[in-house]
Subunit: 129 residues, 2 copies
Amino acid sequence: MKVSDATSEGGVLRRHFPDGVFSQNCPSRVVLEHVTSKWGGLVLLVLAEGRPIRWSELRRRAEGVSEKMLAQTLRTLIEDGLVVRHARPVVPPYVEYSLTPRGQELAEFFVPLMSWIADNAAEIVEGRP
Amino acid sequence: MKVSDATSEGGVLRRHFPDGVFSQNCPSRVVLEHVTSKWGGLVLLVLAEGRPIRWSELRRRAEGVSEKMLAQTLRTLIEDGLVVRHARPVVPPYVEYSLTPRGQELAEFFVPLMSWIADNAAEIVEGRP
């Protein structure tokens, strides 16, 4: 079987998970769930463009997200230090959100994953029984 | 603002999503949800080591997954053409699962993401308010 470095014998993840178990109480599990939650992932991808984005634009582009879920998702990502909220004290005031440097770092792994998914999704969905 | 290629002006994802909207009915949304579902992601990461893995080992390593959720997760990933089931007709018979070439390709993006998460998770969780 041809395997790449990323997925070779034992896998690079054995460095982090020596027994290969993704333990329930591991911080990685918590963060993985925040980042790959239904809305968490999409919000990160929208913000990955690099400029601050307003609530209303986030709401429109993460299509289908409710006000409540967007608020909750942003709160989680802010608490994780991946997203920052900017209050713009102009008239009328508004708020924007952007990635922190750590969020930007994460996006550099997440954007290529989503790009691969976008390239392959049509075939995957059409191929389903 | 320093931005990488992956997240530069407009973002590489604009190639796939020209209006920047992650549309609800897009196949990418479906596949993203399968791949990043709570158990889907962990099963892919376990299988990313490259060798066929038995049900009982998957169950143990994706800690906390129920029989029912593991069955459902594997069924979805098999239907997506990312995972393949091997029935071993020995005595006693058993089944194993491995990534398809397409699943392997996906893992090459997903493993580095998880590796970043594992490197940063402790700090992220400790930094939460």
